[in-house]
Amino acid sequence: MPALSPTMTEGKLAKWVKKEGDQIKAGDVIAEIETDKATMEVEAVDEGTLAKIVIPEGTDGVKVNTLIAVLLEEGEDAAAVNAVTADGAAAPAPKTVTPANQPAAGADKPAPRMAVATPQQAAATGRIFASPLAKRIAKERGIDLSTIKGSGPHGRIVKADLEGAKAGMKPAAQAASGGTFTPASSSVNAVALADAYGIPYSLQPNSGVRKVIARRLSESKQTVPHFYLTVDCELDALLAVRKQVNDAADGFKVSVNDFIIKATAVALKKYPAANVSWTDENIVQYERADVSVAVASDNGLITPIIVDAANKSLKQISIEMKDLGGRAKEGKLKPHEFQGGTISVSNLGMFGIREFSAIINPPQAAILAIGAGGERAVVKNGQLTVANMMTVTASFDHRAIDGAVGAEFLQVFKNLIENPMGLLL
């Protein structure tokens, strides 16, 4: 019985399309199977003769990996069938149909391609080597060993690796949700799949930062109800002001991003309803706007914070950002410099990304995704004209911020960007 979806544990053998004695080619539909989700066709992956049907049509509750039929390859003796059906594990005997778990990829049947790695395959090729003590500790702490990289002999997982895993999770303990969320590792192990299909690969051990990113963002995307609002901002005024400021600053350069950081904080100040966090008991109303700025480092994403950015000058923000950004890339930030923040800003404009949607960084309730600024054709007063435009998409936590609140906040933000004199104060 093939696993036709990641969640399938058993299925009903709805119909045999082929009969015993039929010649079968790879790709032939041999049976139909009903799962908890749909009825799917099962294709043969090998060719041969359908020697014996083990599970009759109409059988309910057939467990995944149960032998359902025996396929004889050319030249194989029919006598071998008995051996297989007797103990289900005859050595090089006929191919059983069981692992023929390639679901039919019919257009109306969304059989996910990833579902082909059955637990059996994972067990055969993805055995996890861990010391008895490591297994015990993992079990007690609910750690999925398949997510851990072993440092022991031949890559065996040892106790120390689990201590590392625990340490890596520490920063997350600050998340306001404070729940006992454990990352749901993908139900399909990529290594097992790559092994099974002979996809060449190498393995890089997950760094602590990588693990935290994976855990926190999985948690965010799975537990925080995101909604997204997109707005276009005209940048011409801002670019002009920036030029004047920089020309006057004698070598000192303020970036567009510095304006955005300041605008974000000032907008929160003007519209505090968006400067919040959700907890089960309360809405946390922040009284200061601290902006976490996403920075890419070799280790992965890190978000240094400009504390109280609304009350800092553009120059100060610029100086701080250069320092924090530089040290973030070197991995030299102190925890208080990247943990906290009441909103995040992620800017991928430098890569020419026009717009994107970001994942909220819990316990924050909003993140602004900044696209590239550039000249675009716009219509003003019925006239086609050219303006520098920038598209911003905000992601909000709907538990704490409703659609209209988010929209009004974005309006304030857009206003500040388009009338940047207010940011110079």
């Binding site: 010391s131 008895p132 003590l133 015990r136 007690e140 440092s151 002999p153």
Partner: protein
Amino acid sequence: MSEQKFDVVVVGGGPGGYVAAIRAAQLGFSTAVVEREHLGGICLNWGCIPTKALLRCAEINHLMRHADQFGFTVEKYSFDFKKIVERSRKVAAQLSGGIKHLMKKNKVTVFEGHGKLLGKGKLDVSKDGKNVATLEAKHIILATGARARVLPGLEPDGKRVWTYKEAMTPQEMPKSLVVIGSGAIGIEFASFYHNMGADVTVVEVMDRIMPVEDAEISAFARKQFEKQGMKILTGAKVVRLDKTENTVTVHVEAGGKTEKITVDRVISAVGIVANTENLGLENTKVKTDRNHIVVNQWLETDEKGVYAIGDVVHGPWLAHKASHEGVICVEKIKGLPDVHPMKKENIPGCTYCTPQVASVGLTEAAAKEKGYDVKVGKFPFIGNGKAIALGEPEGMVKTVFDAKTGELLGAHMVGADVTEMIQGYVIGKTMEATELDFMHTVFPHPTLSEMMHESVLDAYGKVIHM
């Protein structure tokens, strides 16, 4: 005088150094060893090995004296002390010759002389103060070991006040001795001389003998020694030695009182001092801490290309730890995959007195101090068939587990042949076995090792033979 280049030069040919050299040669490095005295170092020439030869004789003497227990009548027997010492020296010589052969077989060049770092990967080799070679190597491993610590007022004179070296090669058997220090070295000599018929008093400054061992084990051992007739003074300090032509009067201060013990000889075994002098460390960035060279987990010093292993670095100061460090150090230099730093808690310690003591990992007290909720198992030799058959009913196997995870935190044994058995627990501990793995292991019958099983079972209330 010659100037030669090598990939790896090891300074010191003891159990750390020569093993590092062999491994380096195996990995394709051109390798040299600089040794100022004997290949094999203290361990092989003046430590582990020759003392085991002596202790074997003590064991035989012990059996001879108790031969009647086994149904033998020995009318009269005697031993020639000179021959016993001679045998011990022969054993050491044979093994030192063996190392020489191993060096040759592995194409390791041996320089006789004293090695001194000149900085920038250069090493001066001198003999009697004269340079005999200057070596250049990308990697220099310091494995110069340690020597006996000398306490002021208790300076060994080689005649009446001995260190391990004189204690190993006496001209005649002393009738009475005081042994200062009850660590492995002190207790082994005390046990040897006592079993050979001398009147032995052990003076230990701590409140119990073998202070690094589990308290219960050291108390058990003490009881056995005292039963044999050895005198043991703990919490006691030797404050003065009065020497005459052929005797020493030892002034021992304990509990506010001073006691005078007059004996033929005194053995000083009060610890070790690392050999870091005149190594040219001042020409490098190598740091020392309380005389020992500071290294990281890969045995690297603060000077690039200079490494240190064995007794010259942090403890435990044991030959097997030195050898293992040598291998780790060289394999790391080679960049082999699967090199793992040493875990101190997995290094066993053995003392070859009668009864023997062997242990690995945390004592019960240390485990509790670290905050572990412990499960402790104990099994006595008296409950083991093989021990009774051997006529060795005195001893104990103690195990300490983390109640939460089943991790074996420590194992402590006292009794016959425990030094040969401890490795079973060491393997288990190294592989991170839990109590279940030990419980599911089939131990052969009849062996002393069955007690290792029973001790684990006892920790979890499942002991059979008790």
